[in-house]
């Protein structure tokens, strides 16, 4: 075990890389979730079709292949991302596709009378969504987004194939250098678990903040 722990500098590096990849990927995924999720319920057919194409492409193909494609194939056509950017794009686009369904579902779950009431008050489309619908949809989204965030954290483990030295890759290095198997994996198991626990806590705090003064059940069921 000590032999494994003596590799702490690269373990710390790997942990930081994993966290950065998770955070940046989550931000991108969140933005994409909202754009694509709302595009799915647009009244314009062309926008809806584009959103569906995006969703089906990123949900229907493997994240690993997407990563490989972005990092190794696009440069042949002159599009060049560094490894971390490629990893963030692949993770973000992939989880964003799942997230868009969460956004769509949550927005549709907000009661019909809320739409009608805001229309009766002469709210514009933008105002209706910004001040009435989305604030009520967010508390419904949060638990599922929390799940996706943990999924994203674990998805980053495949990023080592595109030369990102994340936590899992560091475990492989230690494994090959020391020929120990149990110990390096045990160490990263604990590290992943700690990161995931912190993420769950953060999501809980956010959920509390957004559901203040609202009853989720009513917003969701009506």
């Amino acid at each position: 075990m000590n032999q494994v722990l003596s590799f702490y500098p690269i373990l710390i590096d790997g942990t930081i890389t994993t966290i950065i990849l998770t955070i940046l990927g989550a931000i991108l995924a969140l933005v994409i979730s909202f754009i694509v999720g709302l595009a799915r319920i647009s009244t314009f057919t062309s926008i809806r079709v584009l959103a569906i194409v995006y969703l089906e492409f990123f949900r229907g193909s493997s994240a690993l292949v997407q990563m490989f494609f972005i990092y190794f194939v696009l440069p042949m056509w002159g599009i060049y991302f560094d490894a971390l950017t490629a990893g963030v794009i692949a993770c973000g686009c992939n989880v964003g596709a799942y997230g868009s369904e969460v956004v769509r579902g949550a927005v549709l779950a907000v009661g019909k009378e809320q739409h009608e009431a805001s229309k009766a008050l002469n709210y514009s489309n933008y105002k209706r969504y910004r001040y009435v619908i989305i604030p009520q949809a967010i508390p419904i989204m949060i638990p599922t987004f929390g799940n996706l965030l943990i999924e994203l954290l674990k998805l980053t483990a495949v990023a080592s194939l595109i030369t990102i030295s994340d936590l899992t890759f560091m475990a492989h290095i230690i494994r090959v250098q020391t020929a120990l198997t149990l110990e390096p994996f045990l160490v990263i198991l604990v590290i992943y678990f700690i990161i995931a626990s912190v993420l769950v806590k953060i999501v809980d705090l956010i959920a509390k903040k957004f559901s203040k003064g609202r009853n989720i059940m009513i917003a969701g069921e009506n």
């Binding site: 500098p9 690269i10 190794f72 440069p75 080592s160 290095i173 020929a179 198997t181």
Partner: protein
């Protein structure tokens, strides 16, 4: 006759590279200007050795470092990546070169180009102590279809096995060599095949009295690895080869690789000209 042709061919190459040393290749100019080269290194001791603080050493990176110093590139930035990502990384120009145990194989020469060989070695098996199935060659594995062997996907050893009568469904692939040794320890496979020094190093670290090293394996050629480059870096490759030849001539080369267990003599008669079809 072949030898004579080879001699003249290498003479010609020397001439060409001598000429190009007056006009440096664009790649070398760029590397000199930025002061470093990005080098893909695989995670396989003793070809490469990663220290606990992340510093990359080992036979192949050390040779590359010395060669680059002769060329005037001060720093080697090692990028540790999986074997499977090495050739794509070169093709997409993600890295300037790759080193550490990428054997010179004819089908690889189709996608990348190699320097002169720097590390050559015999092949080995790891088997349960006492070698219960009496495996000394790949043919022995092929002769008993009940046996399972493990090696890495796309490795030279996979090809040796298939060419020597081992059935494809006898091969179980490992992701990293320690996984292969674990499978052997747990009885999931009967034999583990990899480069000689890689296997030896792994068995020393595993330190399991129930395992035994069989080396060398007769009937397979000595495997030779070299630095690998993008197809378009032919001039840079020539410059690299010149510097490597200098390093070999001064004896510094032997001083670098011998502590890791490699033999400088083994590379003496070897050339990518004979190992790649058409001498690419």
């Amino acid at each position: 006759m072949k030898k004579i042709i080879l001699f003249f061919a290498s003479f010609l190459i020397l001439l060409v590279s001598a000429k190009s040393s007056f006009a440096e290749s664009d790649t070398l100019k760029r590397l000199k200007k930025q002061g470093y080269a990005v080098v893909a290194v695989a995670n396989e001791p003793p070809y490469s050795d990663i220290k606990s603080d992340g510093y990359v050493t080992g036979a192949a990176p050390d040779v590359a470092r010395a060669v680059l110093t002769i060329l005037g590139v001060e720093e080697l930035k090692a990028e540790v990546i999986m074997y499977g990502a090495m050739i794509p990384a070169l093709q997409a120009k993600r890295v300037d070169m790759a080193t550490s145990g990428l054997y010179i194989k004819p089908d690889r020469c189709e996608s990348i180009i190699y320097s002169e060989p720097d590390l050559c070695g015999a092949e080995a098996f790891a088997v349960p102590a006492g070698n219960p199935n009496n495996l000394l060659t790949y043919e022995d594995i092929g002769a008993n279809p009940d046996l399972k062997m493990t090696t890495c996907a796309g490795c030279a050893e996979e090809k040796y096995a298939l060419e020597r009568g081992v059935n494809a469904n006898q091969i179980v692939y490992f992701d990293t060599p320690p996984s292969g040794i674990k499978m052997l320890q747990q009885g999931r496979v009967d034999v583990f095949a990899l480069s000689g020094l890689g296997t030896q190093d792994l068995l020393q670290k595993t330190n399991d009295p129930n395992l035994e090293l069989i080396m060398p394996i007769s009937g397979v050629p000595i495997g030779c690895a070299g630095a690998a480059f993008n197809m378009n870096d032919i001039e840079f490759r020539a410059e690299y080869n010149m510097a490597l030849a200098k390093l070999k001539a001064t004896g510094e080369f032997a001083a670098i690789i011998e502590p890791y267990g490699f033999s400088a003599e083994a590379t003496a008669g070897e050339s990518y000209l004979t190992r790649c079809p058409d001498g690419k």
